[in-house]
Symmetry: C2
Subunit: 311 residues, 2 copies
Amino acid sequence: MKKYLFGVDVGGTTVKLGLFNPEGEVLEKWEIVTRKEDAGNHIIPDIADSIKAKMADHAIATDEVIGVGIGVPGPVTSDGTVLLAANLGWGKRNISKELSDILKVNVMAGNDANVAALGEMWRGGGRGYKDMVAVTLGTGVGGGIIIGGKIVCGATGAGGEIGHIHLEDAETDTCGCGRKGCLEQYASATGVVRIANKKLAADSKASALRNEEVSAKAVWDAVKEGDELAIEVANVYGEYLGKGLAAVANVVNPEIFVIGGGVSRAGDILIEYMKPHFEKYVFPGAASCKFGLATLGNDAGIYGAAKLVLD
Amino acid sequence: MKKYLFGVDVGGTTVKLGLFNPEGEVLEKWEIVTRKEDAGNHIIPDIADSIKAKMADHAIATDEVIGVGIGVPGPVTSDGTVLLAANLGWGKRNISKELSDILKVNVMAGNDANVAALGEMWRGGGRGYKDMVAVTLGTGVGGGIIIGGKIVCGATGAGGEIGHIHLEDAETDTCGCGRKGCLEQYASATGVVRIANKKLAADSKASALRNEEVSAKAVWDAVKEGDELAIEVANVYGEYLGKGLAAVANVVNPEIFVIGGGVSRAGDILIEYMKPHFEKYVFPGAASCKFGLATLGNDAGIYGAAKLVLD
């Protein structure tokens, strides 16, 4: 009898789904719309219907399904209870039980950033490691802590919220979390743009960045071209990111940091500008960790969700 | 057949030992001298001799001993290899195997701060919790991270080195680790004295601290007496400690921080001066954690070492 896993990544606009074999190969992937109306009450039944249809397509019997893993944008405790997923209209709910009651298979749930970290460990940039921190540099800064191959959910589902480590007393703008001076305010896509715009306003030197709307991509492209002002921006960026990751390393001392998210498309150069600062701030006994890039992109969530069921 | 555990805490001056039952009650505790000469090669045989003698005293057979746990002042990896214990004269060595070869029982080893954290979780201030951070405010600042009831050793045995989280760019003094601006430079016993001496030099107001040699105890005693300058010192102290623990909470989101070490003898007042700062800097979703005081004092190490063998 063949065995299968489903991995589900619930986002605010679409739900991504994947059918996997236990070796972690994706056999098929697809998406459905996230129907958030009616307090998000359609989302779980829609996922169940989509999985049932896919099982019918492939003539997969219920007892061939090891389980369904599901990643959710909000805090999830280690028993799989979603505490809140405001983007979906959800308050506290036990979605593992809800989906399992419909499908009659084992269902495991986790926070989307943590689940994506697990995906990168299983089949992505963290392959072969058991103590890993995934860092997502996107609109915000997220993290996923993996210790001994398992996600650190935290007591209230806030494990890995490394984007909100306080780094800057002098900050006057407020972070999305309500605090001031969080790592996310500098190391996110909007963070690099803020740093660049401040440099452009404070310094009159010529820069390619003066000719276009500043974006994270534009900054890193200019760095690669040797643009002096962009390089100064990259150094400020690298100092904040390095300082934040050094704090993380002093707590959990991972084997590797796996860097993903939109900003990481800049590639290894981002690590080059961060690493000297990391080394300056980290405890010497934790300094030998590796840095790598995430490789699964937007699929990390479905991979990690599927892996949840195997653990 | 009765069952027994031994817990061993190796320090630079003495080795503490304890005989336990599996319920975690200490039946007897004693100490031997740490003989550091000859590259520390006597230490393990001395421990073995002492345990054998205690087994003979109590007529304990080898098969009644579940195992021996041992805490060591240095980094220890999750397989029990000591990477370095400079205070003992040790380089890299597998002390679990060395001691097990002599005693013919299971031996587990861990870093002393991490092992003490485990002890506090088992029988001390962290009883009933599984996700806990122990913070030791002594000559230095140490930490022990427990997730799901297990110690987070880290890839190179540096898990929980929270005393070396960088907090202060403006620091000019160098920390014991070689960096500048570490939590330990403010939150240790010497840290509180440094803060107090700076305040005393910069401010001419009357204070009980001007009449005696400043110590951590003197500062907290003066705070309890309402001494204005001492209260300012406590606020600076609390801000650094709160900021550091907030960073830790954003990474692992524990249920509780258990505060121990010499400085913590000040009692709950230390937590009172730290907590408002913690709450200001922590990610809101991780803010609900508890704070408690360690209760096992210098015995935390032997308790935790014994618990290592049960896990």
